[in-house]
Symmetry: none
DNA sequence: TATGAATGAGTGTTCATTCAT
DNA sequence: CATGAATGAACACTCATTCAT
């Protein structure tokens, strides 16, 4: 449990962070490419912090994975804390960028909600590292996210789209429940965050099949129905 | 970000773990009371692991808080890893014990569901340390929970009660959705786990008011309605 | 000039710090003797800081010389800075203790002054490490000495004795110059501090024989005369 | 106490080293001016070594202050050690140059001595950086000064002038003490070196007012009298 | 001539763990 | 049963120095 020991032994499964140019250790970067090096370090750091949390992350490992010299990390990013902050900001930026590509304008409101939920679930499955980073930062009590400049400005595009969908739904009479989009976002996120981020304990403790694609499909359908119906009904409603 | 520094500076807010006999530092335990000492250490360890996660937890602090000698921890619990395992098992045990006290037999099924949901939310609010422990263990990829003996045997009493409620509901015709109780548990847990365990990032990133009691009350009511209605309707239903 | 390199190569000449129990590496301290270990560390640290100054001092070397584990230094003294502070305080304490043993009561004032000056010179020759520590602390701009608790309380006993001698001299009519004892102390210290603490540069730059005992004897006699005469004459005097 | 930290935080008070062409950071040197760059580096290095001593000096800071590239320092000066040697030689050169401007031929010997002493004190006050460099080099046990080529050739002009003054004094019968000029130089230097170079510890430890201009004036007068009288009297003399 | 990227050997410090009493 | 001393392997971070352009 000493950080350096047991944690170093964890099999370092490769997580595809899904960036354009993931670190490629096979052929070493051609020396003097400061931007490239910086990028590699950041990628490696995202990996490391996602894998091990803030306390467990090792600068050494980041350097090795980034194929860079440890000191370079310091000259580029200052220190571990600041590197972590960069990682966190980058994570939010990327996640939001992914959400931006949704095109829900053309869909009927009910269908749009269903699509959004599907997207959210798949999103979480594709980016477990983001969930891990979130968990880490909340264990840190939000110490860092609070200091990130203009973090709220990159507010989820999901929310913007959500608002449009809700507005259309209300206008068309499809939705009677005039939820605010942030609350709807929380609702949707909740439904997938728990089973996915607890996918290591739930099966053991409850025998829940949360990692089984079949279960997921069923679960998705079920909560889609639930949420859509929730929107169709007036709150507290008769 | 060195564990010892920044983490040591976190104000150590007192978390009432809600155990029978909290550590009493005022007068030092009188020598030979091995069971008492052991208990104190365990309590202190629950505190520590909840506060700082596995990597951030410090044996020194546990010893100090338990008013015990560091070496005792080793003679009683083996090493940090095993102590963490004991903490995790104890945490589950206690949480389940808490859930056992619910008495829903007399309530009408719909009301019972509402009560269960209220209980779940309050439970999480009362035991943030448990959520933190869960997050920690999932960051560890369930490494430890898997090794805990008979962990699934102390399955959530919530589930048992859930099953009874669901059965009664279906029998009475109130519920048409024949959900399995584990899935219902996951649904309910999900709805509260996310906003509570992310209560440090959500306000910063989305300006969400998840920590505001008013918001919580409103949120609870809303999702209670949603879930009850979900149970009243046949799945996929017309 | 990298601290660790060239400085490590300096021949580590043994400086007798003149304490009761100097570090004895020949037979290792018998384990569990915390006071002994602490003392050894302090001695080794005095050595190290005198030799290399604050920046050049190495905790590693201190540990090795003290026959102790590096971590112990931290558990006993906190950190390098605090260890340095302890060294500085200890140095002053010891120097003052040495000065306390002078017995000048019985000497005729003029003779007492001569004796004091001889003592001062020999003192500096015997404790070059103290001069080095002084130089170090002044290079640090007194950063640490200022923070040492009650440092001025262990004011030089020399000054007390100086005052008595001066008073007797004035009373007997031997001295007409009513100097204040601190100024006299500074005068005496000055006359020996410079040639001794610059004994490495003066010979090279001026060919001065400051390290030659003969020269010292001559110099001592000369400045003794000078100072005594200075005291015999009224200031600014005719 | 890590060099980089605490030492970096010292407020970097500007010391006027009194050179002809101080570093001008305002407009960057235009490329090809090797002599200018070299000079700037040397100046910055004098500054740095005086401020922080040999161990505390940082090549990075020197480069920044000189508005030069770090690698240039190496191509011009070899390494830190050699740069330090150049700094030391330069320091001696400049100090001696300063001393050369004294014109004492016209003064009566007694007055000349008084003037020399005043000059010496003021010299030290004006060039504390030189005292710091001296202290540094002596802490290094003269390692470097010994290797500087022809260092003794630029012997203090003070000594030359001292010799003339002494000769005139003896010739005129004003002085009976036939001191050799180096010893007299040491005597004079001593009287000011100690109170000035220990100006950070003396006030704290003895409450001495060595930094008070009033005290200095008084001290100067007192030791001027003392030294002049010393020269007027035959040594050991009756 | 000049630059900025890159390196590697330290250096202070922490912490889980074991030893001796 | 209990204690406090002692250990050693990391770890974050620094800095003189070299390399490639």
């Amino acid at each position: 449990m000493t950080d350096g020991k047991s944690e170093a032994n964890r099999d370092e499964q490769i997580i595809d962070i899904g960036l354009a140019a993931p670190v490629d250790n096979s052929r070493p970067r051609v020396g003097r490419d400061s931007e490239g090096t910086k990028r590699d370090i950041l990628l490696a750091a995202m990996h490391e912090f996602s894998e091990y949390g803030d306390g467990g992350a090792r600068i050494d490992r980041i350097a090795r994975r980034a194929n860079a010299n440890k000191s370079l990390i310091y000259s580029y990013f200052g220190n571990k804390e600041e590197l972590y902050a960069r990682v966190l900001r980058e994570a939010y930026t990327q996640i939001r960028a992914g959400e931006r590509e949704l095109n829900l304008d053309k869909l009927e409101p009910r269908e749009a909600i269903r699509a959004l939920m599907k997207f959210t679930m798949e999103h979480y499955l594709r980016a477990p590292w983001f969930l891990r980073l979130l968990a880490t930062e909340n264990l840190r009590r939000g110490q860092t996210v609070r200091q990130i400049d203009k973090i709220s400005e990159l507010q989820s595009p999901l929310i913007t789209q959500l608002k449009q969908v809700l507005d259309r739904g209300v206008a068309s009479g499809a939705f009677k429940n005039d939820m605010n989009p942030v609350d709807l976002y929380i609702l949707m996120a909740s439904l997938f965050y728990f089973p996915i981020s607890n996918s290591h304990t739930l099966p053991v403790v409850f025998g829940a099949q949360v990692t089984d694609p079949k279960w997921r499909e069923h679960y998705l359908k079920s909560v889609q129905d639930m949420v859509v119906r929730h929107l169709e009904n007036a709150p507290g409603g008769a």
